[in-house]
Symmetry: C2
Subunit: 193 residues, 2 copies
Amino acid sequence: MARRDEVLDAALELLDEVGLDALTVRRLAAKLGVQPGALYRHYPSKAALLDSMVDRIAAGVPEAEAGLAWDVHARWIARAVRAAMLARRDGARLIATFDRPGPAGVASWRGFTGALAVAGLPPEAAAAAADTVFAYVNGFTIEEQARLDQRARADRDAQFEAGLAIIVGGIKAVLEDPATATGTRAGPGRPRS
Amino acid sequence: MARRDEVLDAALELLDEVGLDALTVRRLAAKLGVQPGALYRHYPSKAALLDSMVDRIAAGVPEAEAGLAWDVHARWIARAVRAAMLARRDGARLIATFDRPGPAGVASWRGFTGALAVAGLPPEAAAAAADTVFAYVNGFTIEEQARLDQRARADRDAQFEAGLAIIVGGIKAVLEDPATATGTRAGPGRPRS
DNA sequence: ACCTGAACACCGTTCAAGT
DNA sequence: ACCTGAACACCGTTCAAGT
């Protein structure tokens, strides 16, 4: 069981060194000083190894404090998920491509929808709000990490926060007026202000 | 020039048939009744072929009507981009992995930020709002298309619309009160209702 | 328990040569 | 202009055999 973890550690190191596209069973074996076939004693396939890597990256998101206000919770979880993805080269693409339900991800989701429920959102609306936040974080971070013309980290942070503010504001609007949640259903011809 | 397009058409067909992971130069050559090396007369590399496929998928998003209200424009462009991605197997993952600036994508972005500017949003806020919508659409659709336990299309549509309503609501809040855009800057200790 | 050696069926890509 | 034939340097995976 110890060797299995050494293989996983080496794989994560190799990911940072060469990127996801060059992360090869054979290169990993060379890094470990071993024949390629030897790795199949520890993982049944490369896909299984990648799944374990995803779990490890997802585990980088700590549990939220209990009793956080929903909007503080929202910003906190969004930043934590983005940070965990950015911590590894191609982390966002890796997670997007090999998304399992994943116990760590499920826990984050439950914690956040719980906070939204406490704030008064019905379960369905809470789920929609949480899914929206996570879709935004994933979409933003995948694109951010894929871009070759890397802008400064501060600029990317500011852009991330701007989008986050929009979404938190949108959830607040739903909390204050649940009719908003159905989108245009209120009638397309009605003037708005 | 005609043969180049035939290769591209065959590649898009093959994508629908076998999926992105099995989309292979050799399989494509077989489908065309040709030796693998022959394809390099038309595309300098597999990556170049994939880029062309992305362009074609992105071209599935038509130009927006002029003079649309910003919120109608927002919902329209979000739905159009999602629809274009869903029209091809693994379309979202393909686009996310091989995102070029892309003339079609740039046109969509300009059209939408233009509508937001007309509504009174300063350029920086309009860019942030547009980026947020596109990040959401990409994140949502990648996950949607990757899931193996496919729910009914109607359910997925409803969930997409719910997230869209949140984001449109958030942009509306920024339009009505630009101070919202800076997120928590107003002071974390302040009670909210 | 862990690894070697050697093979199998694949990849993307190059390039002289043919028509 | 387009394709063949043949090769090159890689892939992931399997499995008997060794220690």
